[in-house]
């Protein structure tokens, strides 16, 4: 566990496998672990996306014809679980966090490299286990929320494996969170002040606090649920005197903060990408920091907005309405600051920038429908309908996934040393943006007009709109192709990037591309102004 920051002690380089093989090893290098997270997450995204395509194919016609009914429920459960726990959370936290945070704090590695590797290696087995459960007795089929008593009465092996793998993934994310908190707070290079850290560090600090405070509650809840299934206790089983609403409270106590775990790091990444491509300092650094912390605090006390129709007392509904809606204020501050960052800049409209702007537009839309959902009387009509499905895909796909793509275009030159092809990037963006809006915008109408979610069959009057939505999903699937081609072609033939292709000032750009094993040949640079653009720090090319 002892990796010192001073450059005398080196990681035992010779013990690690070299070249491509090290990505399959128990490597302790934070950069290798970051790539492992990203590639592993992306593979699971393709699985989750294929399941989403199955959902959209089923919904082309009003009858339940493409998938058997129980398989449909398994597919949507796996889709939700995979996308959240195996794609967004590991990638925006694990992948980018591990790659970037040590650079940003000026360290040679994370605080606990071994724990870090353990956290990553928990993910592939639990993911594969989850997928494999389909072939045993059928996968879990009670939705990613696994509400009892349904989750107690459906076939049990699938549900138990689901619980087990979510527990492992939760453990992985807690270990990651501990590592990030310690690294950011304790491993900073001497001389580097907290208020000079790049914004992504703050986002990761906030996220990790949420992870540490809320994930264990989910773990406890799922342990109780598994007792109900295996040992026939009655915590959540009304037939044995239990209370199903208690489960919902405990579940959402984790799963609402989880949505900020999925989006706060994305906010941080955008805050790194925008200033570089707009050639301007990040606007309102201090307010950005406070708004992140505001979101963390508010995010912990709004969970019951998912339960407005579950019979919560009126005062509780009122409190949660107000608390939820107020999250729009700190979030809004961040968005206005980003626009102000663009204002008056010298913007290069490349793929990274396009995806970031797409993110802003999509997220504002999803956020506004979120604020509408927070109003009890509004939510009572649209709860558990496609309106909610549309809301959160606008945020998780239009928000987090867009930012992930943006970040890949932005940091690929650093990681690989080659620049991604811009024309393929534009094509990727255009297909994704159009497909995405085509797929999810019409779903708002579906929800308002009476289509519930999680159904394999629906009213024929909704067929046309569902078909539009499915065409959008098809476009999204197609949009993956130019992206994958781009990744592979640029890896072989891409333009050489050089150390600092974007003229960035954050520390990762001040080393070679790809960076050496301990990040810098000499001592880590002290970057006091990570966003000092327009101040002649870099001679302009």
């Amino acid at each position: 566990m002892t990796i010192l920051i001073d450059n005398k002690t080196k990681v035992k380089e010779s013990l690690q496998p070299k070249g491509f093989l090290r990505y399959f090893s128990f490597s302790l290098d934070h950069k290798v672990i970051g790539i492992q997270y990203l590639v592993c997450g992306f593979l699971f995204y393709l699985v989750g996306g294929t399941l989403a395509s199955a959902i959209r194919i089923e919904l082309i016609s009003p009858l339940s014809d493409f998938l058997p009914r129980d398989v449909y429920n398994q597919v949507l459960t796996l889709h939700g679980t995979i996308m959240i726990f195996l794609w967004i959370v590991p990638v925006v936290n694990g992948a980018f966090g591990n790659y970037l945070i040590p650079f940003y704090v000026g360290a040679r590695d994370m605080a606990f490299p071994r724990l870090n590797a353990v956290a990553f290696w928990l993910i592939p087995p639990s993911g594969l286990m989850l997928i494999a459960s389909y072939f045993i007795e059928g996968a879990a089929q009670s939705g990613w929320t696994a509400y009892p008593p349904l989750s107690i009465t459906t076939p049990q092996s699938g549900q138990i494996i689901w619980i087990l793998s979510v527990l492992l993934l939760g453990g992985s994310s807690i270990f990651g969170g501990i590592n990030f908190i310690v690294t950011i707070l304790k491993l900073r290079r001497p001389g580097l002040k907290l208020m000079n850290l790049p914004m992504y560090c703050w986002a990761m600090l906030g996220t990790s606090i949420l992870v540490v405070l809320s994930t264990p509650v989910l773990a406890g809840t799922l342990i109780l649920l598994s007792f109900d299934i295996v040992a026939h206790t009655g915590f959540f089983n009304p037939a044995l005197g239990g209370n199903v609403v208690v489960y919902q409270h405990l579940f959402w106590f984790y799963s609402h903060p989880a949505v900020y775990i999925m989006v706060l790091p994305a906010f941080g990444l955008v805050s790194e990408i925008l200033p570089i491509h707009c050639r301007k300092p990040l606007f309102g650094y201090t307010t950005m920091v406070f708004s992140i912390m505001g979101i963390v605090v508010l995010g912990l006390v709004v969970w019951a907005h998912h339960m407005f129709t579950s019979g919560t007392p009126p005062w509780m509904r009122l409190f949660f309405t107000i608390a939820t809606a107020f999250i729009a204020v700190p979030t809004g501050i961040k968005f206005f600051n980003w626009v102000a960052t663009m204002w008056g800049g010298k913007i290069s409209l490349n793929s990274a920038m396009l995806f970031s702007c797409g993110f802003i537009i999509n997220f504002v839309f999803g956020g506004i429908t979120g604020v509408a959902l927070a109003q009890v009387p509004f939510d009572i009509h649209v709860h558990d309908t496609y309106f909610v499905v549309a809301h959160f895909h606008y945020i998780v796909y239009g928000g987090s996934v867009f930012v992930i793509f943006s970040s890949i275009y932005h940091w690929y030159p650093k990681v690989v040393g080659k620049i991604l092809n811009e024309n393929l990037g534009y094509l990727h963006f255009a297909l994704t943006f159009i497909g995405f809006n085509l797929c999810f915008a019409p779903q708002h109408w579906l929800g308002l007009n009476g289509m519930p979610r999680r159904v394999a069959e629906y009213d024929p009057q909704f067929q046309f709109v569902n078909q539009i939505s499915s065409i959008g999903a098809l476009l999204m699937a197609i949009s993956t192709i130019p992206f994958l081609i781009n990744i592979f072609i640029s890896f072989k033939k891409g333009k050489i990037a050089g150390n600092n292709p974007w003229n960035g000032l954050t520390p990762e750009w001040l080393t070679t591309s790809p960076p050496p094993v301990e990040n810098w040949e000499g001592e880590a640079p002290l970057v006091n102004e990570p966003y000092g653009y327009g101040k002649d720090y870099l001679s302009c090319k």
């Binding site: 920051i5 809320s214 994930t215 264990p216 509650v217 406890g220 005197g241 001592e523």
Partner: protein, 200 residues
Amino acid sequence: MTILNNSDEIKKSEIELINHHEDYRIFGLIIFLIADGMTFAGFFAAYLTYKAVNPLPEGSIYELELAIPTLNTILLLVSSATFHKAGKALVNQKNDISQKWLLVTASLGITFLICQLYEYFNLPFGLTDNLFASTFYALTGFHGLHVTLGTLMILIISWQTRINGGRISYKNMFPLEAVELYWHFVDGIWVILFIILYLY
């Protein structure tokens, strides 16, 4: 340019401070214990909610005897003190004394577990009898698991504190400090559990 590349600005002592490892391993452990505490908090919240909104059906038995748990509380509190003694002895480079205190702590832990098992076997209700019974066993069982783990770790470090060839000495306090922190945490949880489950 504010990108500095020299250590001359930074005093040597500052660098040494940052390289002080035990510092942040303990910090990491504290964060882990906060997380662990949140699991208990979830259980407690569930228990208290059940108590408030799910009254038990008429005729359910949920009488708890206070004698054993009170004894157990005392055992654990004493064991915290003995562990503290062990730490002090190690600082004073008295490994043999430290080891003895650790063994005393471990035996207190084992006694606690035996008492708890005894209580389990003599309770008038089983795991699935009713909601209260289930929550009772879940909470005390989860805590008992922590005590078991802690006792095992104490036994391991007491072995490593032996005079010749032990890994732990006043120069390498971390394992002992870490387990001690964990043990105090487990004690603290027990006190809360005792108050909420037995007294409240």
